[in-house]
């Protein structure tokens, strides 16, 4: 769990336990004004998902059948670009646009990485979608995917319910 002081309100920011996408911004954010930029980044990201056919069930089948390089190329290039970016941010101490230091988190191994990861992989091959493409598929008009999304939310909820009983 991460705690950091919020100077103006003296309250603490508490991230969800083991959240892999935490918000580490210290300065205050308004509900719409500060967040609209993430909608725009998401929008561009969604266009890429559709146009590179990452949302295609067939592309995921090709990937798991080793019949096409496409998905490996996409993920591989993204990791290389991401790694160089993270390295550059650390090396040159690049600040956020609010002037804050970029915070990175260490991930600690837990058996959920293996068990949960395998369960997700099985589901990924069935649905042809990880959580991101689910949203882009719905936007593209595959409305039946709404059921998949609702099931995924139910799965997340079930994990929350059983969390303390599951091996980690």
């Amino acid at each position: 769990m991460q705690f950091s002081e919020q100077p103006d309100t003296a309250s603490v920011i508490e991230h969800p336990i083991e959240c892999e996408a935490p918000n580490d911004q210290i300065s205050n954010e308004s509900l719409i004004g500060s967040n609209i930029k993430y909608l725009i980044v998401g929008l561009l990201f969604g266009i890429v998902f559709v146009k590179a056919e990452i949302i295609s069930w067939y592309r995921i089948q090709e990937m798991f059948r080793l019949h096409a390089f496409h998905m490996y190329g996409v993920i591989g290039t993204a990791v290389v670009v991401g790694t160089i970016s993270v390295w550059a941010i650390k090396k040159f101490h690049i600040k956020t646009i609010q002037g804050e230091t970029v915070i990175f988190h260490k991930k600690t191994f837990q058996w959920g990485n293996v068990i949960g990861g395998t369960i997700f992989g099985l589901g990924w091959a069935i649905t042809g979608a990880c959580p991101g493409p689910l949203f882009a598929q719905i936007g593209s008009g595959f409305l039946v995917v709404i059921i998949i999304l609702l099931s995924a939310i139910a799965g997340t909820w079930m994990y929350g319910l059983l969390q303390r009983k599951l091996p980690h």
Binding site: G117, G121, G132, F135, W157, Y159
Partner: protein, 188 residues
């Protein structure tokens, strides 16, 4: 220009743009790329049910919901304005494998023989929509992330648990396609 944008984008263009999402989110406001968290925030906002895992200030993480809202709108724009007029090309070998499993293929992004409203109340619908979706939501949360949080953000930050998770994602997919599918499609 529009013509170029309408064609399927090559893997290196997509890879570079997706990779750039990592520094973009970090520099816009110390946000860590990870999409499956949005599912957790939806649970925390709508159905916390006194479960400790969902007791946190989801409003603090609301950027994540704006982001996935944007992804959905991006899907609308890409399919309405930038839609590829040509049929989707799938590798011959994959088509042959799918036909061997009696899966009807088409030239859309998702096979309408499976992802069809008419299949909702069938065994096929139960497995592909309900069970599949449940495994995606349960598995990503249990693993602590999905392809974005582990495979892209985690690997970019050189976190070895993310490498373990990524290998397990792939292993699960290979098992489903090569071991379970051949059996599954005999009963569907």
């Amino acid at each position: 220009m529009l013509d170029t944008l309408q064609q399927p984008w090559p893997w290196y263009v997509a890879g570079i743009l997706i990779g750039l999402t990592v520094p973009t989110l970090l520099l816009l406001g110390n946000k860590h790329f990870g999409i499956s968290s949005s599912l957790r925030h939806i649970c925390a906002a709508c159905l916390p049910s006194k479960i400790p895992f969902f007791q946190y200030d989801w409003r603090k993480e609301i950027w994540n919901l704006y982001f996935v809202g944007g992804v959905l709108l991006g899907g609308v724009i890409a399919s309405q304005l930038l839609s590829n007029p040509d049929p989707v090309i799938v590798s011959e070998a994959t088509i042959a494998d799918l036909h061997a499993l009696n899966i009807e293929t088409d030239h859309q992004l998702m096979p309408s023989s499976i992802f069809n409203i008419d299949n909702i109340f069938t065994l096929k619908g139960l497995i592909f929509f309900v069970v599949g979706g449940f495994m995606v939501g349960f598995g990503t949360r249990y693993a602590g992330g999905c392809t974005s949080g582990h495979s892209i953000m985690g690997l970019s930050n050189l976190q070895w648990p993310s490498l373990v998770a990524t290998c397990c994602f792939m292993a699960g997919g290979f098992i489903m396609v090569h071991v379970i599918f051949p059996w599954l499609f005999t009963i569907l």
